[in-house]
């Protein structure tokens, strides 16, 4: 009997503890907002941290500028950045904690794999997001999601067109990362769309072997054109290791992941004899216009460490949200995420043009019905062949 009383007491105690956990659901989280809250989830630590920090810094810079200019009708913005370590399982927690912190609109996730989770979660609650850099084709699959960067598939198609035109009948090399969805997504579309008379030598590397590319370089050594849909760090290692092996009149051609390759501390791109070019939406060497101003402000504040397309795209995404919100005449700071989403969707589907973009060569940016971005892709020659 005594034991039974004890057990009952215990159950009562547990019930009390549990009740602390269980607040009331479904309340208006945004009711107490005094600023518009923009949420984001990205890798702020771990191997992919450079991308997450870039977006965070770019977005913060944009928000500070907007706030300094009086915000949206006098109401300021605020960024809540959470860390997902490039791990999709952390997204659900981040997403719900952001909602509870009063998130009204978001930048989604920085990287594609976690963003696949975010896409579905945000669709449940109808939270609008525009991701600066999660470039997977499926990210904008619901009507509340948009991309600021080019989708992988479109980059692959653009590269395939370029190759089919210029290298018909020749042998080209491809160097991509087989366990990375960015790399895979571009390469799949590239392979599908490239004309049949271009012979392709495929080489891959994986996360575990991202340091020594000797055998891949050997396989590619006779190619005059090497397509590299990868990020710039492995690319710079590849180029350093390959500079004497691969013919000096060869061309390295990358996508937006290449951006920032010439800014890596300690990597002297001038010592690479081959031509390095890329298809991108951001020119980190711009000397005029809004882009140059952004580069200057960013460098003053955060240094060149994370100055890349992620930072620029994060900056642009915040401005796009700001412009769309002012175009939609949002004036209630406690507007719920879902209501705001409906207003923003109306804008983005109704031919909203984002002006003064840092990316896309300074031209206007718009979005198509699928949520893919329409902007100018710039083929940069980062460095001419020697």
């Amino acid at each position: 009997m005594k034991k039974l009383v004890k057990v009952l007491c215990l159950i009562m105690a547990i019930a009390m503890i549990c009740s602390c956990f269980a607040g009331c659901g479904k309340k208006g989280y945004t009711a107490n907002n005094t600023k518009y809250v923009i949420g984001m989830s990205g890798p702020l630590t771990g191997p992919a941290a450079i991308y997450g920090l870039g977006v965070q810094n770019g977005a913060t810079l944009a928000i500070e500028e907007i706030n300094a200019n009086g915000g949206l009708n006098g109401v300021e913005f605020k960024l809540e950045a959470t860390d997902d370590m490039h791990d999709a399982t952390k997204v659900a927690t981040n997403y719900s904690s952001l909602l509870e912190k009063g998130m009204q609109v978001s930048l989604g996730c920085v990287t594609s794999a976690p963003c696949a989770e975010w896409t579905n979660l945000s669709n449940e609650d109808n939270v609008f997001f525009i991701t600066p850099s999660a470039s997977n084709d499926d990210v904008p699959k619901y009507d509340n999601g948009y991309q600021m960067c080019f989708a992988d598939g479109n980059q692959g198609k653009a590269a395939a067109e370029y190759v089919s035109e210029n290298y018909a009948g020749q042998t080209i090399g491809v160097f991509y990362k087989s366990d990375d969805n960015y790399s895979n997504g571009i390469f799949e579309q590239f392979k599908e769309n490239v004309s049949k008379d271009v012979k392709i030598i495929e080489t891959v590397f994986t996360d575990a072997g991202a340091t020594s590319f000797d055998s891949q370089i050997n396989a590619l050594k006779d190619c005059k054109f090497i397509f590299m849909p990868i990020y710039y760090t492995p690319a710079s290692i590849f180029m350093t290791q390959a500079k004497d092996v691969i013919a000096s009149d060869a061309v390295y051609y990358g996508c937006d992941g290449f951006d920032g390759i010439d800014a890596i501390e300690g990597f002297d791109i001038k010592k690479i004899p081959q031509q390095v070019s890329m298809l991108s939406h951001f020119n980190s060497k711009a000397t005029d216009g809004k882009t140059a101003k952004f580069i200057k402000d960013y460098t003053n504040k955060y240094g060149t460490d994370t100055l890349n397309q992620f930072a620029a795209s994060g900056y642009d995404s915040v401005y796009a949200i700001y412009q769309a919100m002012s175009a939609a005449k949002v004036d209630d700071v406690t507007i719920s995420a879902s209501d705001l989403s409906d207003k923003l969707k109306e804008q983005f589907q109704g031919g909203f043009k984002f002006k003064d973009a840092v990316t896309g060569g300074g031209n206007d940016v718009s979005w198509d019905a699928n949520g893919y971005v329409n902007k100018t892709a710039i083929k940069f020659i980062i460095k001419e062949a020697d």
Binding site: C18, A22, T45, Q56, T93, E124, D180, T206
Partner: protein, 376 residues
């Protein structure tokens, strides 16, 4: 006698009570989304820790690839549910069928890995499972988009978010019942006897390989179950998650909770998951780098404090169990828990490899071994 039996199922009862309370709450006023996600995470972590404890604590073998079995369960269970979606819909039936499929496939992998590895003496299981985990991860990462999603991960149906945690609780309770029952049965005693002294166990007529395999397969089955639950709690699963770091994370829960203590595993898994989630929600923005730093410092301090031989007397003085005993006005010496103190448990992680320079393989040449041979 009855009370003694009740004692074994103490934790199961408490978990059941918690499950009922949360269910009532969720049906009544509803739960915060973050609470539900946290619950799902905690339950999955507890199932993993308890099932790993079966191998590390009760069998005394080290496994560094528990996440690999979870990965197999998650992918195959997730794929099965995606295939069955048109027929069964996103229903409880689909969930249960997927859990069984995922668990069985993981158990099959456990049998394939365990059969050769467990026949060897020593901690080879640790390294074989480490390899297995990495192989599984690498294979799923490079599958085609249509089969298992490849690098972008497998899209799985997410179960109704208000209800999944209830089913997860049921799975957890079943896990606890199975493991506690097993450990208090004849088979369980055979398994622990293998841990304590393999040669003596063999001498008493216990089929050592069979029982080792038995425990290992059950453990991988539940890892698979946890994997399926995981795939149902997410829209998208990526195999890169299931690397050796994740296996280690589960091992940390088991070691911190106390090897061979089911209650300890439950508490440690809950606390670690909770702390990690709290860190992730509190330390945002520029503070995010502090997450790992704090976690690492806490981890090192706890392990040193809890295990250092030099602090033995200090620990005894402030032993939690004894503190409770004082409150109950009992003599501390009369409290004898069924769980042995974990650092006293002779795990077979013996590290008997010798440091050597020999190029020839001289099992035969060593003085020790010659004596052994003569002895036989």
């Amino acid at each position: 006698m009855k009370l003694k039996k009740f004692k074994h199922y103490y934790s199961t009862f408490i978990i059941t009570a918690i499950a009922v309370i949360f269910t009532v709450f969720s049906a009544g006023i509803g739960l915060e989304k973050s609470t539900i996600y946290l619950l799902e995470k905690i339950i999955i972590a507890v199932i993993l820790a308890v099932s790993l404890n079966l191998v590390v604590g009760f069998l005394g073998e080290l496994s560094l690839g528990h996440a690999g079995f979870m990965c197999v369960g998650a992918y195959l269970g997730g794929k099965f549910s995606a295939i069955m979606l048109p027929n069964l819909g996103n229903s409880a039936l689909n969930l249960i069928a997927s859990i069984i499929v995922g668990g069985l496939v993981a158990a099959l992998c456990g049998a394939i890995i365990g059969l050769p590895a467990l026949r060897l003496k020593g901690d080879y299981l640790a390294i074989v499972t480490l390899g297995f985990g990495e192989i599984v991860k690498s294979i799923f990462q490079n599958t085609s988009r249509e089969s298992f999603g490849g690098a972008l991960g497998l899209e799985t149906p997410r179960f109704d978010k208000e209800q999944l945690f209830i089913y997860a609780f049921i799975a957890l309770i079943i896990t606890l019942l199975v493991v506690t029952n097993l450990m208090n049965s004849k088979h369980g005693r055979a398994i622990t006897s293998i841990r304590d002294n393999e040669i003596a166990a063999r001498a008493t007529g216990i089929n050592v390989t069979k029982y080792k395999l038995y425990a290992f397969i059950i453990s991988s089955f539940f890892a698979g179950v946890a994997g399926v639950l995981y795939s149902f709690s997410n829209y998208n699963i990526q195999s890169s998650k299931f690397g050796y770091n994740y296996s280690i994370e589960i091992l940390v829960m088991v070691v911190l909770g106390g090897i061979g203590s089911i209650n300890g595993s439950i508490i440690a898994a809950t606390l670690i998951t909770f702390i990690n989630t709290e860190f992730a929600t509190i330390l945002t923005g520029n503070l995010a780098v502090l997450q790992n730093l704090l976690y690492a410092i806490i981890l090192i301090l706890i392990v040193i404090f809890g295990n250092s031989p030099a602090l033995e007397s200090f620990r005894e003085k402030y032993d939690v169990k004894k503190l409770f005993a004082k409150i109950r006005k009992n003599d501390p010496s009369t409290i004898n828990s069924d769980e042995a103190h974990w650092d006293k448990i002779p795990t077979k992680i013996s590290m008997d490899e010798l440091f050597s320079l020999d190029v020839t393989n001289n099992d035969q040449n060593s003085v020790l071994n010659i004596q052994d041979k003569e002895g036989k």
